[in-house]
């Protein structure tokens, strides 16, 4: 069916309502983003199909990621008049039992994360909460109240985990494409741009450039204009773009359609990172479905507006996330950045005016158009409006994707939502902004998170990766790690970046190997300043950030490496050794059994000893001992 009006959308929305909110029988929604699948969701899904597909009143369906990745596989079970139960760690061996239990109103408490109070997204405030008439199950928390979700506001992630990403009907049922049809039929390009400007939306890909202003300047330049979506997601540790594309591809497509209307473009591109095959697959389906519905292609919704999109895939080059490099890669060429004397909004892809935005940026556009720029601007801080998605990863209990209002402080994210550091270790720092960002130390945890505040402490918002580090993370090694990454990824065309990074890396490597000298820190600072100043693109100008911020906040760790030849965190192998504390060792023998070198010996229930000459410092014993008897010296 071709959609030509909001009335058509209404009809689909009504027809699809029951599928989402009041299924005929029991509906099992398995979270099937790629990490869910890696954690066993596909196997759970297959098992559920196998056991229940012959039963007419049970349907098995897929959704995207609901964010609490630590708890994968996540499965929701729903039935009319019953609570919507979210199960965690529901592997294939448990899923049948969980479903049978649900059918018998005998919920498996241990496996349940919570019950959903209200499944609607932020746009569906025109209908009543479909879950309201249902009596909640006693003794089960509401999902919305558990600490991981309590402080979240989902705008960009509004549908991830709540619907089948391959179904355009379900997207429409959650108020999808209403914003686009509103823009198409009721707004002028100038209205759209004004709304985006009012919203204060800034680019979520790293630079934070105001989106409305970018659209406006692109629209001013004549020629064939292009709308491009940056799904290169190069920041290692950030995966929100993957999750949005896998869980809600239509939201990004709709954002691009609105951008195309505002800017006046007929052709769009997705540039997707090579490592994301499932995102590509879901995008292909979404594009086909949108074309079938007449929302993409020629004469969209019966108007004279036409827009086509094509998917291009990257091939493993971090620098191709940079706008000019990306456009050159889209043309099938080597992705080397060029100087931006002329901006890409004027002359970009195929020398035409090109508007590049990040996945999350586009996903925010439809809600802004439907609810108005003022609504969006009412959230956040003076310079950073709305919400931001962060991926909480590393040494953190609740790994996952979280969307919070700008301005929330770091402590609320790391400890409130993230549940702090596992194994009672001490929290040391959080790294934001990826290889272009910095490490923020524990003492700055009260920092409100917005573009400006992060910049003030030497880091950046970046694309939203938050890597949590604990006492076992060596900050000198982290700095070395990022430079090693950047050395590999520098395109090599300008000297300061290519040679400067190499030199900094050599110094850091020698510090980590115990050959650090007095003056090395100062030399790193000097080189850093030079690279920042003279590099051509953002990769180079921001490359020294991880080094400079770790020097700023963790100078003592550098000094310990250089002067005392010690790595306090026990990472740099030349600079520490493991010892067994006889006071604490219970002689349980776990470490000895696991040591690949047979370096640990001792009698049962007596303190063990460790033979340094055999030890290769693999750390297995350190991770094994439950009594803190293995210590770093």
């Amino acid at each position: 069916m071709k959609i030509t009006s909001i009335t058509d959308l209404d009809a689909i929305r009504q027809a699809c309502f029951s599928r989402l909110y009041a299924p005929d029988g029991v509906k099992v929604n398995v979270g099937m983003a790629s990490c869910g699948i890696a954690a066993g969701a596909q196997a759970s899904y297959n098992r559920a199909l196998q056991e229940f597909s012959t039963k007419p009143d049970i349907s098995i369906s897929q959704t995207g990621c609901i964010g609490f990745c630590e708890m994968e596989p996540l499965v929701e079970i729903v039935a009319p008049g019953k609570p919507r139960m979210m199960y965690h760690h529901l592997t294939e061996d448990k899923i049948a039992e969980a479903i049978n239990g649900y059918l018998a109103n005998d919920y498996h408490k241990k496996w349940i994360l919570g019950q959903m109070r209200d499944p609607r997204n932020i746009l569906e405030d025109d209908i009543a909460n479909p879950q309201a008439p249902v009596t909640p199950a006693e003794g089960f928390p509401f999902l919305e109240d558990i600490p991981f979700y309590a402080k979240q506001t989902k705008i960009a992630l509004r549908n991830c985990g709540y619907m089948d990403p391959d179904s355009i009907e379900e997207y429409i049922a959650r108020k999808g494409y209403y914003a686009f049809l509103k823009a198409l039929t009721q707004m002028t390009p100038a209205d759209i741009i004004k709304n985006i400007k009012t919203s204060g939306l800034r680019g979520r890909g790293g630079g934070g450039f105001p989106t409305g202003i970018k659209w406006e300047s692109c629209a001013k330049h004549s020629g064939d204009r292009y709308i491009i979506c940056n799904a290169d997601e190069g920041d290692p540790g950030a995966y929100m773009d993957r999750s949005i594309l896998e869980g809600d591809p239509h939201s990004v497509l709709e954002g691009m359609l609105i951008a195309a209307l505002a800017i006046g473009s007929k052709q769009g591109f997705f540039y997707v990172r090579n490592e994301y095959p499932l995102a590509v697959k879901r995008l292909i389906t979404a594009i086909k479905e949108a074309e079938k519905a007449g929302l993409l292609g020629d004469n969209i919704a019966g108007t004279n507006f036409s827009f086509h999109v094509k998917i291009s895939r990257g091939a493993g080059a971090f620098v191709c996330g940079e706008s000019t490099a990306l456009m050159s890669s889209l043309e099938g060429k080597v992705g080397r950045p060029r100087a931006k004397y002329v901006h890409t909004v004027e002359k970009g892809f195929r020398d035409g005016p090109s508007n590049l935005n990040n996945v999350e940026t586009y996903a925010n556009v439809p809600p802004i158009i439907l609810k108005g720029g003022d609504w969006y601007a009412s959230m956040g801080t003076a310079n950073s409006k709305g919400t931001k998605v962060f991926s909480l990863v590393g040494k953190i209990n609740n790994t996952g994707l979280v969307e919070v209002p700008m301005g929330i402080n770091l402590k609320d994210i790391v400890f409130g939502i993230g549940g702090g550091v596992p194994r009672k270790k001490e929290f040391k720092a959080v790294q934001t902004g990826g290889p272009s960002g910095g490490c923020i130390p524990a003492r700055l945890l009260d920092l409100p998170v917005d573009y400006q505040k992060l910049a003030e402490v030497g880091s950046i918002m970046g694309s939203g990766g938050m890597i949590v580090m604990d006492q076992d993370t060596c900050m000198v090694d982290v700095a070395r790690y990022f430079l090693d990454f950047l050395k590999e990824e520098s395109c090599g065309q300008c000297n300061p970046c290519r040679e400067g990074i190499k030199q900094m890396l050599e110094i850091l490597t020698s510090i980590c190997q115990g050959n650090g000298k007095e003056g090395d820190i100062e030399l790193l600072e000097e080189l850093g300043a030079m690279i920042q100043r003279f590099s051509l693109c953002g990769l180079g100008t921001s490359a020294p950030n991880p080094v400079l911020t770790t020097i700023l906040y963790f100078r003592n760790e550098y000094e310990a490496h250089i002067r005392d030849k010690k790595c306090p965190a026990g990472v740099c192998k030349a600079l520490f050794h493991y010892e067994i504390d006889p006071e604490k060792c219970t002689g349980c023998g776990s470490c000895a059994r696991k040591c690949p070198q047979e370096a640990i010996t001792g009698d049962k229930k007596k303190p063990h000893s460790l033979d340094q000459s055999k030890c290769i410092k693999c750390g297995i014993c350190y991770d094994t001992c439950k009594f803190d008897a293995l210590v770093i010296r």
Binding site: S34, C69, E70, V334, G465
Partner: protein
Amino acid sequence: MNSSVSEASLELDYRELDRIIEEDYQNDKENLIMILQAIQKTYNYLPKPALSYLAVKIGVPVSQIYGVATFYSTFSLEPRGRNIISICLGTACHVRGGDRIHETLVDQLQVHDGQTTSDNRFTLESVRCIGCCSLGPVIKVNEDMHGRLKQDEIQSILSRYE
């Protein structure tokens, strides 16, 4: 390594190449990167004769094709092993001990990044984030993801791949 042997014995299926270049990618040089990906998918690497053939078909100098093939890290100009191990060296995996998993792999396979074991069983490659950071440290063997890895699990995982 026996790359020269397998390359010499490789029979290129030009009809398959034509299908990729013409049908899937319309002889369009803007699609060069994706064509190379498709060729690599078919042959597990980029055979030189295929690149020369491609150059003529889409009208791009061979030198430029090599430039692209060497610039992007996913392309391999050498034949690769029967199983591809991608170890994640992304930040989230790094702070969770990804380096030690890497060392164990290097140690057990006796190859470094980009190299293939002498029996052609494994090629070791590194990637920077596969987007499954919540399961870190992770490795991917062919299409299978293995997460929350411990060093002592590596051996038994590798033994599953022939």
